[in-house]
């Protein structure tokens, strides 16, 4: 098969450690935690008040002046994607319609709009509950909660702005990003929960490899930092109990002593390019994408697959695609959310893949960043890109007691120098059956 090589030239992230990939990397190295009491709303009625929120930003800093009005119809998930998109183009020094309009660059566009694609993973976007409740309460009984659909149809619904629906369509992350940066090539929105970013980046990798686009902006974003987002995870039984007194240690990947995730929010978008295209424009190449694989769990659509077969299939497919043996993996980026059942299933998958290897250098970022959903995988990958770039294994928060039967070795006290040639990252949907993995390699010409 005659496929083009695909490289990563930029990473844009918005995480609880700040905006931009430097804030992420510096925060990880300095062992900062992005977890704290939820500030976005009064979480007093929830079992846990912990969240992982992206620090304040102003949308005006991430769109052209002419697009500021449109930021009013962006759910938080969409905002995060738009923020990440400009961060990623800046990081890649990619000149787009947006960077030109913002006077951040001058000269010609780096890529023809019809060869510039977008593949952005999105979650189940929660409607702004204050806005929606404000409308719904006009048509319901405040004591019993009984709702009058006739009254709603006649009067209540007009409390909502005409464009209300468009704030919450999952493809609006991609739509706003493609409008702002003028990306007209293939554009897709993958909605597979926590696996979304990996599937989206994998698809962008294939799109560029077969020549359907030269540059793709890809990854995902999601915010669970709203009452419904956290409530949903609480009802399903995934939120860690307690920890309010010491937020930084609450979420403990692969550590059976605490069970549960911290709900969060984040976005991550990568710039993927055809290698020759990147070289021609003189781009700095951060890493090469050499393998992608997906696999499906079939034991349940709402519980972890205890034997890890589906997740292992994804990693095995990605390694085969990369032409790598398990023994050649220098770094494993786990998805470890801190939910015991899922962590155990993931460990089973890594055991299947890595066999009798011992102390494989590994990272687990959710202890510091929480679990955001569709954006989490892209943030992991941005972390992997930085690890490759710096030849450094970043510390993984709260993994001191991680129990992996000697298979994985996390850095704890601080960063560890590590020669990394190839790294593999896994992500999987918590609700649902999808698993996906990507293999990145240091670019050496």
């Amino acid at each position: 098969m005659n496929e083009r090589r695909v490289v990563i030239t930029g990473c844009g992230v918005a995480t609880p450690l700040g905006i931009g990939v430097d804030a992420l990397w510096d925060g990880l190295i300095a062992r900062k935690s992005g977890i704290g009491p939820i500030k976005a709303f009064d979480a007093g009625g929830l079992k846990s008040r912990l969240g992982a929120e992206v620090p304040d930003y102003k949308m005006a800093d991430f769109v052209p002046k002419t697009y500021r009005k449109s930021t009013k119809v962006m759910a938080r998930d969409i905002e995060l994607a738009v923020v990440c998109a400009l961060e990623a183009t800046r990081h890649a020094k990619l000149i787009t319609k947006c960077t030109l309009a913002r006077d951040e660059a001058d000269g010609a566009l780096s890529v023809d709009s019809t060869r510039f694609g977008a593949n952005i993973g999105a979650g189940l976007i929660c409607a702004d509950l204050q806005e929606l409740a404000g409308a719904l309460q006009t048509s319901g009984d405040h004591a019993s909660g009984a709702f009058d659909e006739q009254k709603w149809g006649e009067e209540g619904m007009y409390q909502l702005t005409p464009l209300w629906l468009l704030k919450f369509l999952p493809n609006m992350l991609g739509c706003h990003v493609t409008i702002v940066h003028d990306a007209q090539a293939p554009s897709n929105t993958i909605t597979c929960g926590e696996a979304s970013s990996h599937l989206a980046i994998g698809e962008a990798f294939r799109t560029i490899a077969r020549g359907a686009a030269d540059v793709c902006i890809c990854g995902g974003a999601e915010s669970k930092m709203n009452p419904m987002g956290v409530m949903r995870q609480q009802l399903i039984g995934r939120i860690v109990a307690g920890g309010d007194d010491d937020p930084a240690t609450a979420c403990r990947p692969f550590d059976g002593s605490a069970n549960g995730m911290v709900a969060g929010e984040s976005g991550g978008l990568l710039i993927l390019e055809d290698l020759e295209f990147a070289k021609k424009r003189g781009a700095r190449i951060l890493a090469e994408v050499i393998g992608f694989g997906a696999g499906t769990s079939i034991s349940s659509w709402h519980e972890p697959e205890a034997d890890g077969v589906g997740a292992a299939l994804a990693v095995e497919n990605a390694l085969r695609d990369a032409g790598l043996k398990a023994a050649q993996v220098d770094l494993v980026c786990t998805f470890g959310t801190g939910i015991n059942g899922y962590d155990a299933a993931e460990l089973a998958a890594w055991k299947r893949v890595l066999g009798d290897r011992r102390d494989v250098p590994a990272m687990a970022l959710k202890g510091a960043l929480g679990t955001s959903g569709a954006g989490a995988g892209a943030v992991d990958l941005a972390g992997v890109v930085m690890a490759l770039h710096h030849n450094t294994l970043p510390p993984s928060a709260n993994t001191e007691r991680a129990a992996t039967d000697g298979l994985l070795k996390f850095a704890q006290a601080g960063p560890v120098d590590l020669k990394i040639k190839s790294a593999v990252s896994l992500a999987y949907a918590l609700s649902g059956s999808q698993n996906a993995a990507l293999v990145l390699r240091r670019y050496e010409g």
């Binding site: 709702f147 209300w164 629906l165 999952p170 991609g174 909605t191 929960g193 294939r206 769990s297």
Partner: protein, 438 residues
């Protein structure tokens, strides 16, 4: 040359019925799926009707009582998807002889989000409302919400759940995806599934879409956008694609699935080949979230890319199954895009029709129903009509196969889907012939 991809199975759950042949007969006969909405009390909504799946949908009869029990908590979306996928699987012959390596079988759906669990959701919003502060007291809300909301119904709203139910039911281990590019989703899903098969990352893909937005907030959202027809007194003929008096689309629901297969894999097992998926084009308008680009540039580009991908030219196309929603803007610009594309090729556009005039708009699932329609048009040499076409619109000047089916040899058909926000996807489907593509 990359591998060829063929369709070897089809299934759908639609407002006009739940088996391929019945629905196809009804589409040729110009039947309507529209009726007053029953999923909730829409009697005072601006739009009181829709195109719902009817009582003839019996999931247990399709997947078996035991399986239906296992999937008892599935949302309407997931139920439609399970039904359609199982019918497609059966039509491909996989119920008799399953594929030997299930890790080479994948899923690519354009599945919508599951319907919101409206009653308890609205109750929590009302009970949590603080009239004095004029805001929601989230603490009070959380108390009510945690008592009244159901964990499985919350889980079922995730858009990837339909694909996950199918995976568990049919034991599918290969690559699995869900896309949600609004009204373009299932066309995009089938296009991307074709790419996966061409590259050799799977041998079989279950692909298509499923969606129901016929619930209070779904209809609210579209009514506020003024996207829906409000022809409440003439609901049966309310969906009027390309007609001058069109006033919006009619919301439908359902699922449609195809089994896509690598040609050699299909031939090796002696499968009946229904058609070949020969081309796929995908673009973004990158214009506005509310409007289609007035020149139709994204739609033109998607059609052109699909045609190039299939290695054919515009003059080879015998029939276009339009997105044709019945909104003022879509039908005008889609017409312009088709006309422009064919003028470039120096020929008149082929016949164009929209089955949304009968089925309504199945949103994420629409594209897959329309691809199946194209396969049947190719098989039987019949173009389905655009119903309710009475008043010519100077902006819509193509041959829309008005009001009656038409006999026509169809070798190659093109199917368009365009989504809110400027997502454009086009598929080229052709009659299967053993000689390689030109």
């Amino acid at each position: 040359m990359s591998r060829r991809v063929v369709i070897t199975g089809m299934g759908w759950i639609t407002p006009l019925g739940c088996d391929i042949e019945t629905v196809w007969q009804r589409l040729q006969a110009g039947k309507t799926g529209m009726a007053p909405t029953t999923n909730f009390d829409a009697s005072k909504f601006p739009t009181t009707f829709s195109s719902e799946v009817k009582d003839d949908f019996d999931l247990a009869a399709i997947i078996g009582a035991e399986a239906a029990q296992r999937h008892a908590t599935a949302s309407l979306n997931s139920r439609f998807a399970l039904g359609a996928a199982t019918l497609a699987w059966r039509s491909a012959g996989f119920d008799r002889q399953a594929p030997t390596d299930m890790s080479r079988v994948g899923i690519y759906l354009g599945g919508g989000e599951g319907p919101l669990d409206f009653e308890p959701f609205a109750a929590a919003a009302c009970c949590g409302w603080d009239s004095e502060q004029r805001s929601l007291n989230t603490v009070k809300w959380a108390q009510v919400a945690s008592e009244r909301l159901d964990r499985m119904k919350e889980l079922e709203q995730e858009p990837n759940l339909a694909a996950s139910h199918i995976a568990c039911h049919l034991k599918v281990r290969g690559p699995s995806y869900n896309t949600l590019t609004a009204c373009a989703a299932s066309t995009q899903a089938i296009g991307e599934a074709m790419c996966i098969l061409r590259r050799g990352d799977a041998d079989v893909m279950i692909s298509g879409g499923t969606h129901s937005m016929i619930h209070p907030l779904g209809v609210t959202g579209f009514n506020r956008l003024t996207a829906l027809s409000t022809r409440n007194d003439e609901y049966a003929s309310a969906s009027r694609p390309f007609d001058r008096t069109r006033d919006g689309f009619v919301l439908g629901e359902g699922a449609a699935m195809v089994i896509l297969e690598d040609l050699e894999h299909a031939q090796a097992r002696g499968a009946t080949i229904l058609a070949e998926v020969a081309g796929y084009g995908s673009t973004a308008d990158a214009f506005r979230i509310t409007d289609i680009h007035e020149s139709g540039r994204g739609a033109i580009a998607a059609m052109r890319l699909a045609i190039e991908d299939a290695g054919i030219s515009t003059s080879d196309i015998d029939y276009i199954n339009a997105h044709g929603t019945g909104t003022e803007e879509n039908d005008k610009i889609e017409t312009l895009a088709i006309r422009t594309l064919f003028q470039e090729g120096g020929r008149k556009a082929p016949p164009v029709s929209s089955v949304k005039s009968m089925l309504g708009h199945l949103i994420a699932a629409a594209g897959a129903t329309e691809l199946i329609t194209c396969v049947l048009a190719i098989r039987d040499g019949v173009l389905p009509p655009t119903m309710n076409y009475e008043h010519p619109d100077p902006n819509c000047d193509l041959d829309y196969v008005p009001n009656a089916p038409r006999k026509a040899d169809v070798c190659i058909a093109l199917s368009n889907s365009f989504g809110f926000g400027g997502q454009n996807d086009t598929l080229v489907v052709r009659k299967f012939a053993t000689e390689p593509r030109p």
